[in-house]
């Protein structure tokens, strides 16, 4: 026995704190293809972090579980905001009696009620340099006095004119100008409500723990998984299919009717496995270790009986549900328009030649081959930057922009005096990975077809996305491969990608500058969705294509599979992590 003692001690030291749910506990295991860096809402910049944060904390609003297009609904808020006639003042009332989980951060260790002051505090954290917050871009310059509050030293005891707790349960926000997307920002993980006591007690360690009022409580979190238990004190709100936007015609196969009237969360334990490696994720799924995965593209041949629309093989369909979701975003490659070798140029003649060069590259790009090779042929290629998931999308808005035309590209080059000797050296940037390298080689072969010498297209790879971001923000990359995941379901979020004042290091990584575009954006962005705004956005979309500022775009299609005993409709877009509270497992009935 004494010889076994060291082993037993080691086992005790390395035992998993998430181990050992009780036998009758219903556990749902969700696999994600990446891991969050931090669980602090102020740093919830990735889809992975958001997935967890909205389950551990409350946001004022969320998206309806089943409604498509996406619709906002109150979460911690009692109702949708009361908005003043000029659209500048929003009054939001909180549900009374919502409590944080018990934690030593609170007096006596018992969670207290969530108040309006917590909402104010949580938004202000994004303007406090000490919090390393990443969400300030959503509100800076938009809320009255908030930038001044930061400039004055970010003292939480100083009031902010435009962000006030009127009483325990009422928040009032005054905007500097109309911002119709504002309520969407209150459904993002960045806006999740944290108690000041926890931030002050744990500081940056709040990134690896959670003290919230969400449907789940964190039990353990490491680089491999997060384990969460149902929050027994979570408010009891009966599930209402109609209110969540249920559509019997398209959603009846998911057996969601059984949820009606029950109060979420429906499972006792939620586990999220972080499995970046495709083979490991697939093996874990087939081995029954996880209930849900995003199917790796490498498995499509094995999984899909047909690709459009994606459908599982009969054998797999007997065991699993399968659904496909078009991403709310797109992949694209920007030209660095601040680079006079290829972008804007003070000399009108050279500017015209540069435009011809960019348009020739756009003409030479083969979207069909890109889609087939890297997106299994199930991505949606579309012209411009308004993706197919937005209401402003128009199917035939410039389809010539995505049609390959090698002859037209060669003609454009020769008509504008470009030849193999004077074409500029293109530096094509990407974060290092095998797939990105393959995409670069494919791009180079496309360009070889239009007469662009291979040696004049050079790869610039970077070890991390941060390094890549830094390099293209400093203007060191001429062709910037990117993807954009929309922050909220409103086309304004993609139109701002080419707005002049957002030039690098902002989200306008092309540093595109077009006064007409900017003027239209200034006029249209504060408008509520309307035919007039749609027309403006479509005109701006056309400008980007006329100027050939970007090789764009393709919206990827994500394929999900999950065990048939899990009742759910998964989503990776705006309902994102919110849907996990509505996941149920048939095992509970049995």
């Amino acid at each position: 026995m004494t010889r076994l003692l060291p082993l037993l001690l080691l086992l005790t030291a390395c035992s998993d704190p998430g181990a050992g749910p009780s036998d009758d506990a219903v556990t749902y295991v969700h696999a994600m293809d990446g891991a969050p860096a931090s669980l602090d809402p102020a740093q919830a910049s990735s889809v992975y972090a958001s997935f967890l944060v909205v389950n551990l904390y409350d946001t004022l609003y969320r998206y309806k579980y089943l409604a498509r297009p996406y619709e906002l609904t109150p979460n911690l808020a009692a109702a949708m905001p009361e908005v003043s006639a000029d659209g500048l003042t929003l009054t939001i009332r909180l549900k009374p009696g919502v409590r944080y989980i018990d934690d030593p951060a609170f007096a006596g260790g018992r969670g207290r009620e969530v108040t309006a002051a917590d909402v104010v505090y949580s938004l202000l954290r994004h303007f406090d340099p000490a919090s390393r917050a990443q969400g300030a871009w959503l509100w800076q310059g938009r809320i009255e006095g908030i930038d001044e509050w930061k400039a004055a030293g970010a003292d939480y005891d100083n009031p902010v004119a435009g962000l006030q707790a009127l009483d325990t349960h009422t928040v009032q926000i005054r905007l500097t100008r109309p911002y119709p997307q504002f309520v969407h920002t209150l459904a993002q993980a960045y806006s999740a409500v944290v108690p000041r006591e926890a931030v002050e007690r744990y500081g940056r360690e709040l990134g690896s723990r959670a003290v919230g009022s969400g449907p789940f409580m964190l039990r353990s979190f490491d680089s491999a998984r997060a384990v969460m238990d149902r929050n027994p004190a979570f408010r009891r709100e009966p599930f209402d299919l109609a209110r969540e936007g249920y559509d019997a015609g398209s959603q009846s196969q998911y057996e969601l009717e059984t949820l009606e009237g029950r109060a979420p969360p429906f499972v006792d334990r939620l586990e999220v496995e972080f499995i970046a490696e495709d083979a490991a994720r697939w093996n874990a799924f087939r081995g029954g270790q996880v209930d849900f995965i995003k199917v790796p593209a490498a498995q499509f041949d094995q999984v899909l009986a047909q690709r459009e629309p994606p459908r599982a093989t009969p054998e797999l369909a007997a065991e699993y549900h399968l659904s496909a979701e078009r991403e709310s975003g797109f992949v694209y490659t920007n030209f660095d328009m601040s680079n006079p070798a290829i972008g804007h140029h003070p000399d009108p003649e050279r500017a015209q030649r540069n435009r011809a060069l960019r348009c020739a590259i756009v003409n030479g790009f083969d979207w069909e081959a890109r889609n087939n090779r890297f997106y299994s042929g199930i991505g949606k290629v579309f012209p411009g930057v308004i993706p197919p998931t937005t209401p402003e999308y128009v199917e035939d808005a410039g389809s010539d922009y995505i049609q390959r035309d090698v002859e037209a590209a060669r003609t454009l080059l020769s008509e504008h005096g470009w030849n193999a000797d004077n074409l500029p050296v293109l530096e094509y940037g990407y974060p290092a990975s095998v797939t990105e390298q393959q995409m670069f080689e494919q791009f180079r072969s496309f360009m070889a077809d239009i007469g662009y010498p291979r040696e004049r297209i050079r790869p610039l790879s970077f070890a991390t996305f941060g390094d890549y971001f830094g390099a293209y923000s400093r203007g060191e990359v001429m062709l910037i491969t990117s993807s954009w995941t929309m922050d909220y379901p409103d086309a304004e979020n993609v139109m701002q990608l080419f707005y002049g004042p957002n030039a690098a290091p902002g989200s306008n990584s092309a540093s595109y500058h077009n006064p007409q575009y900017d003027a239209l954006y200034d006029r249209a962005a504060p408008m509520a969705p309307s035919p007039q705004r749609t027309a403006s956005f479509q005109a701006m979309n056309r400008m980007i294509m006329d100027d050939c500022a970007s090789i764009t775009g393709l919206a990827r299609t994500l394929v999900f599979m999950w065990n048939r005993d899990a009742r759910m409709l998964p989503d990776r877009s705006f309902t994102g992590g919110f849907f996990l509270r509505f996941v149920d497992k048939a095992g509970r009935d049995g």
């Binding site: 050992g20 690896s208 680089s223 998984r225 991390t464």
Partner: protein, 317 residues
Amino acid sequence: MNGARSLARATAHALALLLGVTLVSFLLMVHFGPDRTWGLLGKNPSQAQIDEVRADLGYDQPLPAQYVRFLGELVTLDFGLSDKTGESVRQLMARTLPVTLALVLPGFTLGNVLGVLLGMLAAWRRDSVLDRLILGGSVAGMSLSFLVIIIALQILLCTPWGLDLFPARGWRVDSLGSYLWYVTVPTLSLVAVTLGYNTRFFRAVAVGELGRDHIRTARAYGASTGAILFRHVLRNGAVAMLTRVLFSLPLVVVSGSLLLETYFGIPGIGRATFDAITSGDQPVLKAVVSLTAVMFVLVQLFADASYRWVDPRVGRR
């Protein structure tokens, strides 16, 4: 007295080595490592926000000042909080190191013990069919990538396409049974990938020893196979074997477990180190590099002492 003097000399060497390793690795981490600034910024950052993040990360401090601070952290063993998750580095190490040790020790031990046995058997039957089979198997094992072995064993042992006996993923260890349940396939993977290298190495050592005069004499006196192999060959080859085993230990513990931890979803130090390298999490990197350097130094001190134990001639030179 002689022993005390050599211990003092070894300690002085160890300290110099430690300083050298920390200086070089510090320069690599700080000067050439990833810049975390851009990964910590939100969208549409202003120059002021970029400067704020750089200052918060300490990037605006001169390099010598940063190095001195690093040495201070090393002396106090307090590396602060992970830049990435905010978790205390000390807590992270305490959480992940035991997991990695429990994960790799069975495979490491089995791989070496089996390697010694197979190596000596092959050497004893040199040029026989058995020797060729063992050598052929070793070469085959050495030729397969670790990744391929892991995925193949996962499919074979952990999915419905194979025997479906063990979990493909996880580490929910709360008893000896659950430990064996989770550690078996990673252990088999580690043994499969290391056995070929180990067997070839130990065979080469044994072949060298078996050709020596004292072995021929022992054989002439009719010593048994077991006595020759375990008393004479193993003991005399122990310096080379110990060197290999001891010096591979720090690498196995810190970096060798990366693939296992990644593919089996095990929260150990290998995965934490990889994440720290790719994300430029300097506090964690500093701790891991320091830990590795200290382990190497300790291994060297231990190896020096053990050489004297297995071969008394070492101390007399």
